[in-house]
C-alpha cells in the first residue's frame, strides 16, 4: 500500500475514465458529450498535475481482455496488427509511468480484506445478484479506501449506494457532461484543484 504520509491527494481512476482516455477524439463518431468526456480524460492523464493511481485490474485485466476479444471477434490474424496490439498495451503503460502515475495492486491482502467484508454487508442489504454484478466496482472502491485515494468516475451511483450500506466515506469525484461542458462534483472531500482546473470551473 502507498504511504499515507504523502501530502498530495491521489486520484484513483475508475475503468470508465481510462476507457475514455483511449477513445479516438479526432475521427470517431462520438456524441458531443462523449467527445467532451474523452478530451477531459486525455487531459487528466497527460496534461494535469494530478497524481493518478490506476487500478491494476483496469490495465492488466480489463484492457488486455478487450484487446483479445477484439482480435478474436474481428478475426485478426495479420502479424503486423497483432504486434501493434501487443505493443499498444505496453505503450499505454509507458504513458502512465512517464506521466508519474502509479499502477496500484488490487490483488492485495488489504484490498481484498476490505472488499470481502463489504461484500458480505452489501449482499445482506442489496441482495446477492446486485453485488455480484458489481463486484469489480467493489474492488475498485476498496482499492481507493486502501490507498487513501479519491475515486474519480462517470458512474457514481453504485459507489454511493455501496458506501451508504457500509457507512464508509470514501472521497468521490463524479464526472458529468452536459453538451460539451464537463462538470465535476465532490463527495466526502474538498475539491481537488488539479481536476477542477480541467473543467474551467
Amino acid at each position: 500500500m502507498r504511504s499515507a504520509s504523502q501530502n498530495e491527494t491521489c486520484i484513483l481512476l475508475d475503468t470508465n475514465i481510462l476507457v475514455d482516455f483511449a477513445l479516438d477524439v479526432i475521427h470517431e463518431q462520438l456524441s458531443e458529450e462523449e467527445r467532451a468526456a474523452a478530451e477531459f480524460a486525455r487531459k487528466l492523464v497527460l496534461l494535469s498535475e494530478c497524481k493518478l493511481l490506476i487500478p491494476e485490474i483496469a490495465v492488466s485485466v480489463e484492457f488486455p481482455r478487450a484487446f483479445s476479444r477484439a482480435v478474436l471477434e474481428h478475426h485478426v490474424t495479420s502479424e503486423d496488427k497483432l504486434r501493434a496490439c501487443v505493443n499498444m498495451l505496453k505503450y499505454i503503460e509507458r504513458i502512465l509511468k512517464v506521466a508519474g502515475h502509479e499502477i496500484v495492486k488490487c490483488w492485495d491482502v488489504n484490498v481484498l480484506k476490505i472488499a470481502a467484508g463489504w461484500y458480505y454487508r452489501i449482499e445482506k442489504v442489496k441482495g446477492s445478484d446486485w453485488i455480484k454484478r458489481r463486484h469489480q466496482d467493489l474492488i475498485i472502491l476498496a482499492t481507493a479506501k486502501a490507498n487513501d485515494a479519491c475515486l474519480i468516475t462517470k458512474n457514481p451511483k453504485d459507489f454511493e449506494e455501496m458506501m451508504k450500506v457500509v457507512s464508509s466515506a470514501i472521497p468521490l469525484c463524479s464526472v458529468g457532461v452536459s453538451g460539451s461542458r464537463v462538470r465535476v462534483s465532490w463527495l466526502n472531500t474538498d475539491p481537488v484543484k488539479c481536476v477542477e482546473s480541467l473543467t474551467g470551473a
Binding site: 477524439v25 470517431e28 478487450a66 485478426v76 499498444m88 512517464v98
Partner: protein, 227 residues
C-alpha cells in the same frame, strides 16, 4: 493539431507486410541523414562564428550548451537565423522526401512523418522511433530563434544523451507545448522538461495514432462494452 489527410489506418494498411524491412531501412537512412545534416550544421557554425563557437556543441554539459546557444542567439541573431532555418527546412522537407522514397506514400505534411514514425514504434516496440518523433515534433512546433535548441537536441540524441536531448527540444517548443514545462531551468531539472515534451507529444500525436487504430480494429468498442 488538425486532422490529418492520411489516416493512421490507411498508413498502417499501406505498410502492412513491409514493416520490418521498412523500419530497418528508415532507421538506417534517417540516422545517416541526421548525422550528415548535423555535421554540416556544426561546420557552418564554426565557419560563421569562429572563436565564439569555441569548442563546439559536443562534449558540453547541458548548462554549458544552453549558455553557448543563448550567446549565439543574442550576438548573431541575424546570421544565425539563415543557418537554423536552412537546417530546419532540410530536416523537414528532405527527411520527408527521404522517408517517402522508402515508403512510397504521398506524405503531404510534416505531421505525417511523426505519425509514420509513431506507427513504426507501435509495430516494432523500438523506442528509437518514438524518440526521433518527439524531437521532430519539438522542431516542428518551435520557431526561430528557439528552434536552435531543438537542433542541438538532435545532436545530443545522436550521442545517445537522451534526457538532455529532450530537455533542449522541450525548451525550444516551450511556448507551444500543451503540457506546461517546470519553472526550473532545463539544466536544473532536465527530467521534468523531458517529461513535458513527451506528454505533449503523446497528447497531440501519439495517442491520436494509437486511438485511431484501436477504434478501427474494434478495440475501442470492446473496451466500452461490458462483458
Amino acid at each position: 493539431m488538425r486532422c490529418s489527410a492520411v489516416t493512421a489506418v490507411e498508413l498502417f494498411n499501406e505498410l502492412s507486410g513491409r514493416f520490418e524491412k521498412l523500419e530497418e531501412e528508415v532507421k538506417d537512412s534517417a540516422t545517416k541523414f541526421i548525422e550528415g545534416v548535423w555535421e554540416d550544421f556544426l561546420e557552418e557554425l564554426e565557419a560563421a562564428f569562429g572563436d565564439a563557437f569555441e569548442l563546439g556543441l559536443e562534449g558540453r554539459n547541458l548548462q554549458e550548451t544552453f549558455a553557448l546557444l543563448d550567446r549565439l542567439v543574442v550576438q548573431y541573431r541575424g546570421r544565425l537565423e539563415a543557418l537554423v532555418e536552412e537546417l530546419k527546412r532540410r530536416l523537414s522537407e528532405e527527411l520527408l522526401r527521404e522517408l517517402e522514397s522508402k515508403v512510397k506514400l504521398a506524405l503531404e505534411a510534416f505531421e505525417q512523418v511523426l505519425r509514420l514514425l509513431h506507427m513504426f514504434y507501435l509495430h516494432s516496440g523500438d523506442e528509437w522511433f518514438l524518440y526521433l518523433a518527439m524531437l521532430l515534433y519539438a522542431l516542428y512546433k518551435s520557431r526561430y530563434p528557439d528552434s536552435i535548441y531543438a537542433i542541438a537536441g538532435l545532436g545530443k540524441f545522436l550521442r545517445n544523451e537522451l534526457e538532455e536531448a529532450f530537455a533542449l527540444a522541450a525548451y525550444a517548443a516551450r511556448e507551444r507545448l500543451p503540457r506546461r514545462p517546470p519553472a526550473a531551468n532545463p539544466w536544473e531539472n532536465p527530467k521534468e522538461w523531458a517529461k513535458a515534451l513527451e506528454l505533449s507529444y503523446h497528447y497531440e500525436i501519439g495517442m491520436n495514432v494509437a486511438a485511431e487504430l484501436m477504434r478501427e480494429w474494434g478495440i475501442a468498442d470492446a473496451l466500452r462494452e461490458p462483458e
